[in-house]
């Protein structure tokens, strides 16, 4: 009986937690399917209205008005390029750097280690104007390259890969050497397949990290053609239901990725089960 009561209490608390998470998002979604005059008169809505297609299609495809020159569709495209670029660039460079740190006897290894890992302590926010002036000097303002590369300058994934490589048994390299594998073969044919879970987890993490960037795209893009979704929140104008619709759509890609790939993400980050 006590068992039943405590477990019911657990379910109740979890349910309240879920409601705290879900209700605000649901209300914005429900409100985004109404008309602006409805919202202006009656406030946020709990129930769905019938302007879903009208509102969402207008935001996605209409050029001019909501934003001046760019459609939301193009912004999603830009965000996707940016997030994918950040994920691939940071994961590939981190994989390689961690490999050199773990599998080579390097001169000044400690110094190199610190040069790479101390950067974790200096997030982009702390060097944002100088980074901008570097980008301006290199003529990279208003380009995908400018959106992607400074965000990819991160050693977080390197830290994870280094930890992971250290747990790989020494015998793997010994037997690979007996089979005549050189350093590239060992890296590509043995180590990368072995770190697949970790790679997927880091790709997800860096994709969401790249997609969610707000301040950097705001600073480094002056041309609307390079605007991303999240920074667009700052720029959007127009009627309230269209803004609701844009907010709703902006959160769909990262949430979808986290939910669909949840297992890989958790498995990789916690290295368990």
């Amino acid at each position: 009986m006590t068992r039943f009561i405590t477990s019911s209490l657990s379910h109740l608390i979890l349910l309240i937690g879920i409601l705290i998470m879900a209700v605000p998002v649901w209300m914005i979604f429900a409100s985004s399917t109404h008309t602006s005059s409805m919202i202006n008169m009656n406030g946020l809505q709990m129930l769905l209205g019938d302007s879903f297609y009208e509102n969402y299609l207008r935001v996605l495809l209409y050029q001019g008005g909501f934003f001046k020159e760019i459609t939301a569709l193009k912004m999603f495209f830009n965000s996707f390029i940016m997030a994918t670029g950040v994920a691939i660039l940071s994961v590939v460079t981190s994989l390689m750097a961690a490999y050199a740190l773990v599998y080579y006897r390097i001169k000044h290894a400690t110094l190199l280690f610190w040069i790479i890992f101390i950067t974790i302590l200096v997030p982009l926010e702390l060097r944002i104007f100088p980074t901008y002036s570097v980008m301006a000097e290199l003529n990279l303002v208003n380009s995908y390259f400018g959106l992607i590369v400074p965000i990819s300058a991160s050693a977080i994934a390197t830290l994870f890969f280094r930890q992971f490589y250290k747990t790989v048994p020494d015998e793997l390299l010994e037997s690979a050497k007996l089979d005549g594998a050189n350093t590239w073969r060992f890296f590509i044919d043995f180590l990368i397949p072995l770190s697949k879970t970790m790679i997927v987890a880091m790709l997800i993490f860096m994709f969401v990290f790249g997609y969610n960037q707000y301040l950097w795209p705001l600073l480094v893009t002056t041309s609307e053609q390079y605007w991303t979704v999240v920074m667009g929140l700052k720029m959007m104008s127009g009627s309230i239901v269209h803004r609701f619709a844009f907010v709703m759509m902006s959160m769909v890609p990262p949430i979808l990725i986290i939910i669909v790939l949840q297992k890989h993400f958790i498995k990789g980050v916690f290295q368990d089960k």
Partner: protein, 292 residues
Amino acid sequence: MKKVQFKSSYSQYLFLAPQLGILLIFLYWPIIQTFRDAFTMQDAFGFGATFVWFDNFLFIFDDPAYFIAFKFTIIYSFVITLITGSIGLLLAVQANNVMHGKSTYKTLLIWPYAIAPAVVGVMANYFFSERFGLLYHLFHELWGFNWYESVFDSYIYVIIAGSWKQISANFIFFLAGLQAIQKSVIEASMIDCKNSFRRFWTITFPLLMPTTFFLIIINITYAFFDTFGIIDTTTIGAPSGETRTLVYKAYMDGFRGLDLGSAGAQSIMMMLIVLVITIFQFRYIEGKIHYN
């Protein structure tokens, strides 16, 4: 350090080059410029800069607005850490308790983690708007809530906005921590101690210490840096600068005020704070916790 390693004269540098190159150009170069900015003063027309030693630092220490931002950042990180940590732990313990639906609960609680802080801020904005914000009107009924004017109320606004999605992160890590505790330890403690509440605080919680301290650092970093998007989409510092974090203030001084010297000096102060927290974490915490 691996016992078996490659020895080569050059190929390790090929592996290191991409990351080192990106870090040197897009991280170290800007950091050097930050230091240069912090110790120089631009002349009014932007033609040149004079070396001014620590003047920029003295100016920020003389600036009452800096201490207001400093105070807010400390309060903000403390409250966010406390709220999100305890709610995250509470939910994780319940999710770990239930027999059925564990993975469903996990999925239903994990997704807010993925939402950008700026998106959360815009959403919060709708709930705290004077026109149709539900929470605005609820709190207004209760005690005359008005974040445009009251510092306390504006704190409540940004704390709710800042805590919401961070509960998910705390939940995920606490749940992973709980699941990593060996079953035998829990079973043994069940024989020794019948009171489940006391059992949690004397056995389970101490075993969660590594997770707890890791999350404290994560939450502080979040409150320091990631909340920029939240502040910029909610109060923008309202009533009059009381809800500006240090990062937000540095950005505003550099961007709106074009005072790169001050922004640089503020950035270096932040780097020092982060460094102190990190050293504290390594020296103090790592030494005192027993990992199982």
